[in-house]
């Protein structure tokens, strides 16, 4: 409903609550690490289908790398944030903080 309010500079791939949570989760991992899909699903409280949709969008943007492999006979999928994804998240965080700082200044000016 408030999609139209998205300020033009904010990265639309990250500026959606579910994907923001996915990226914020992967950003905690050290560079060179990847998280099992099943673990992410559990941690984020999302269904497999739902998480897949968001991961596909992030992969299309080049923000995550998805590796399918096997552990014994069970297929396992691992997800990692790419360097590009890490930078995009950093940039997004900076912009959000800047927006909040500006808002704070405007309010302070308006009250007095």
């Amino acid at each position: 409903m408030s999609t139209d309010k998205t300020p033009p500079d904010l990265d639309p791939v990250i500026h959606a609550q579910a994907r923001l949570r996915v990226v914020a989760t992967l950003n905690v991992l050290a560079e060179g690490d990847e998280m099992a899909f099943g673990s992410m699903k559990e941690l984020l409280g999302m269904t497999a289908g739902n998480l897949s949709v968001h991961l596909t969008k992030l992969e299309e943007a080049g923000y995550v790398r998805i590796t399918k492999t096997h552990k014994g006979r069970t297929p396992v999928t691992f997800v990692a944030l790419t360097r590009r994804g890490r930078l995009a998240f950093e940039e997004y965080t900076k912009q959000i903080r800047a927006l909040l700082d500006n808002a704070g200044l405007d309010n302070a000016g308006g009250v007095t």
């Binding site: 609550q17 579910a18 991992l29």
Partner: protein
């Protein structure tokens, strides 16, 4: 989830980001309460037993033999080690990559340190009077614990872990200088008690 694609105001997004970061950190690295407190309890019990055996003026405060005190300490440490191993195995199933190798090397460093300590103590211990032998074992094992906590702090840029290691090293040094009875007392209270407090404090502190 209905709200999946909802976008919100910056304040809300910042809050979501922070919450997710904190939740992930806690979920990945485990509960500090489970990491530190079991060791604290083990040392509190074990070294209190040793303290009662040694006493501060060469008289035992309770009829506990050195072997009995050692048994208490070892059993309690086994429980703490089992809890730590459970956490490590769990984390290995969640994440793979460079940090798996980092953790494995760190684990081997612990093993090497402990084996070397045992070798030194087995060789040197018989040359000393019984109280000093006990002090040799306790002092060298805490040397490994202190130094490897400090190294772990460096490895993961974890300041609390680094300072906990420095604290262990400092208490160990003072205790060894003062003798077996004092070493047992200081280890029980300041390290045993200290690890219990550290576990509780790190858990209550926002991640």
């Amino acid at each position: 989830m209905v709200d999946d694609d909802r976008t919100a105001d910056p304040e809300e997004m910042l809050r979501v980001m922070e919450e997710q970061r904190a939740a992930t950190t806690k979920w990945l690295y485990g509960d500090p309460l489970l990491l530190y407190t079991p060791w604290g309890v083990a040392w509190l019990l074990g070294f209190t037993a040793f303290f009662l055996h040694y006493g501060l003026d060469d008289r035992s405060y309770a009829p506990i033999s050195q072997m009995q005190a050692l048994t208490v300490l070892m059993c309690a440490q086994l429980v703490a080690a089992a809890i730590a191993a459970f956490g490590i195995v769990r984390m290995n199933n969640l994440v793979r990559g460079d940090s798996t190798a980092r953790g494995a090397m760190y684990g081997y460093a612990w093993m090497a340190g402990m084996i070397l300590m045992v070798v030194i103590c087995l060789r040197m211990g018989p040359l000393l009077p019984p109280d000093e032998t006990g002090l040799l074992w306790a002092g060298t094992s805490l040397l490994v614990v202190g130094v490897l906590h400090m190294a772990g702090g460096a490895l993961w840029l974890n300041w609390p872990m680094f300072f906990i290691g420095a604290w262990v090293a400092a208490v160990d040094a003072v205790g060894v200088l003062l003798g077996a009875g004092w070493h047992a007392l200081l280890t029980a209270v300041l390290l045993g008690g200290g690890f219990v407090v550290a576990g509780v404090w790190l858990r209550r502190r926002p991640a």
